[in-house]
């Protein structure tokens, strides 16, 4: 990562990034550009450098912030109408940590409203375009962040991954995207979607940058009681990679069929050949429960969404509908106007699966399926060190192609959601391009707390 120094000032880095952001305005990446704030911060860092004072590990590095992270700069809208006008009085822990190291937020990036979606087309601000083909989707929900890094506007961007929202857009744009082990990075100050699967992570151009960001942001936070003690920066068996020739890499047999794009399967085979040439053993895995992960996910996650999104009522912050007769009317009008169709679908599905007549058949059943999926991963990791699979069944698809068919859109997530249900980490890695020039992506999956090893291992796959 290029940090500021006496020769290349932070102001120069920030101005360059802002200029590029404006140059690529037609991609609809940013919901807010932090021109004044970023330049002011850059000058403060340059003054410190001039005085020879200590600056952090990310001194003057411009970055993009997914618009569901709370920070005091600009409105935090989660690309949702209902949060319009919300300027946060608090700052997310992750933002605090990276900015304490000198990183400078140059803009907030577009997402599917409340991160509900796999294409960034569900944004109140319109879709973000793919970095390699403007007729294709950016992927989602962190589409803006992925494109900002892929087009080289910023060195890194933040993302959230509830079911693939970092890995899939990373794959669609040919960059690295990590969904860490559940609980690695504090969720404090990030707009909640599904609390039991939401993860904070990053988009970068190299595994080395990913490692740096993880070492800065991992760790326990008293403001998020689900955070784990910092395992990432601790030397342990989980963080040091064994000799590559002793490693076993699993491939999932159940994904090797025509439901997955041929060129993606080809890219996977090529990487397996590369690993074999380095001495790794390739192990075939049978994971029959994964077939049900998507159904379980689209029960558990909407249930948590219905609960988490009940707080948006127009009373305390954000958008408020006008001319309501009474308080109930205010709630109803605000939510009717303020949510996107996909938000409404998910809230209604959530309330359906949680309602008394259906709870056992859907929610409880899905929670049991989750146990089976966790067990299946545990079994798999007794046979291999990592799993290498596609991130999604296809490369970036055309804008508008799936937006009117929610089930087709959900199927995009079939290979990514099981990781979130199991709490295991996954790193999307670039794996070449298809015939039409669209990036292909794969994901490296490991047991819980193996994030550092995964990142180390990704270097072997370049």
């Amino acid at each position: 990562m290029k940090t500021a120094n006496k020769k290349v000032t932070a102001e120069r880095l920030v101005r360059d990034a802002l200029e590029k952001a404006k140059h690529f305005a037609d991609y609809n990446i940013f919901t807010f550009l932090n021109e004044e704030g970023a330049i002011k911060k850059a000058r403060e860092i340059d003054a410190k450098i001039a005085k020879g004072e200590e600056v952090g590990r990310l001194a003057g590095v411009p970055y993009a912030l997914k618009d569901n992270f709370l920070s005091r700069e600009g409105e935090t809208t989660a690309s949702a109408h209902i949060l319009e006008g919300f300027v946060s009085p608090i700052e997310a822990t992750a933002v605090k940590k990276i900015e304490a190291e000198g990183a400078i937020m140059i803009g907030r990036t577009n997402l599917d409203a409340f991160a509900h979606g796999s294409s960034t087309e569900n944004s109140y601000f319109g879709p973000t375009l793919n970095s390699h083909d403007k007729n294709c989707v950016a992927g989602g929900s962190s589409g803006g962040s992925a494109v900002a890094v892929a087009l080289d506007i910023v060195e890194f961007a933040t993302g959230t991954d509830t079911g693939g929202s970092i890995r899939q857009p990373a794959a669609f744009n040919g960059i690295y995207g990590l969904k860490p082990t559940y609980g690695t990075i504090s969720r404090y100050g990030v707009v909640a979607m599904a609390s039991s699967t939401d993860c904070i992570g990053f988009f970068t151009k190299t595994p080395e940058d990913m490692d740096l960001l993880m070492s800065i942001t991992s760790g326990q936070d008293s403001k998020d009681m689900t955070t784990l003690p910092d395992y990432y920066n601790e030397d342990s068996e989980m963080s040091s990679l064994a000799d590559i020739s002793s490693l076993r890499v699993g491939v999932i047999k159940d994904f090797d069929n025509e439901s997955v794009d041929e060129e993606i399967r080809g890219a996977l085979k090529k990487k397996c050949e590369l690993l074999k040439s380095k001495g790794c053993e390739i192990v075939e895995l049978e994971m029959p429960s994964l077939k049900y992960a998507l159904a379980a996910y689209y029960i558990i996650v909407p249930a948590e969404i219905a609960s988490n999104l009940s707080r948006y009522d127009g009373v305390r912050y954000g958008f408020r509908a006008e001319d309501s007769e009474d308080l109930d009317g205010l709630y109803e009008n605000t939510r009717s106007e303020g949510f996107m169709p996909e938000n409404k679908r998910r809230i209604m599905i959530g309330n359906f699966v949680l309602s008394s007549g259906f709870y056992d058949a859907y929610f409880l059943k899905a929670a049991k399926a989750r146990t089976l999926i966790i067990n299946e991963y545990e079994k798999a990791f007794s046979k291999c060190d990592f799993i290498l699979t596609p991130v999604s069944p296809n490369p970036a698809f055309k804008l508008g192609e799936k937006i009117n068919d929610p089930v087709a859109m959900y199927l995009e997530d079939m290979m990514s959601v099981s990781l979130n249900l199991a709490g295991v980490p996954g790193l999307a890695i670039p794996a070449g391009k298809n015939k039409t020039g669209l990036p292909l992506g794969l994901q490296l999956v490991g047991p819980r707390r193996s994030d550092k090893k995964i990142i180390e291992f990704a270097k072997e796959l370049i």
Binding site: F86, V87, P89, I90, E91, Y182, S196, S222, M225, T226, L228, Y292, L294, A295, Y298, I299, A306, D313, G314, V315, R316, Y317, G318, R320, S324, E325, D326, L327, G329, L330, Y331, E332, R335, S336, F339, P341, K344, R345, I347, M348, I349, N351, F352, V353, S355, A361, Y362, K365, A366, A367, K368, A369, R370, T371, L372, P406, V407, Y410, G423, R448
Partner: protein
């Protein structure tokens, strides 16, 4: 699975929003498709399996019993609401 119009309207009211006629139709169809898809879980045998709600099975994570001063102050929180009167958030009549 067929979902009746009144069930869609009921779900919307549980969710605290209302739907236009057009939304009732389009969301109704979407919900049928989605519920049709997630119902495939019925194929999976989950006899004698315990449910998982949180992956690390955490319970009672304690913190020291100290007063934590929140970084957001009253003034900045009140500034976020659309209508304020005498340091109170103003809403339409409740009853």
């Amino acid at each position: 699975m067929k979902i009746a119009r009144e069930d869609i309207v009921h779900l919307a009211s549980l969710s605290n929003f209302s739907l236009s006629d057009q939304e009732i139709e389009s969301l109704g169809k979407d919900l049928e498709d989605i519920i049709g898809y997630i119902s495939q879980l019925n194929e999976l045998n989950t006899d004698d399996i315990e449910p998982t709600y949180q992956v690390f099975e955490m319970e009672n994570v304690w913190r020291p019993d100290e007063i934590i001063v929140q970084e957001a102050e009253r003034e900045s929180l009140l500034a976020l609401t659309k209508e304020e009167k005498d340091h109170q958030i103003k809403v339409p009549k409740v009853l």
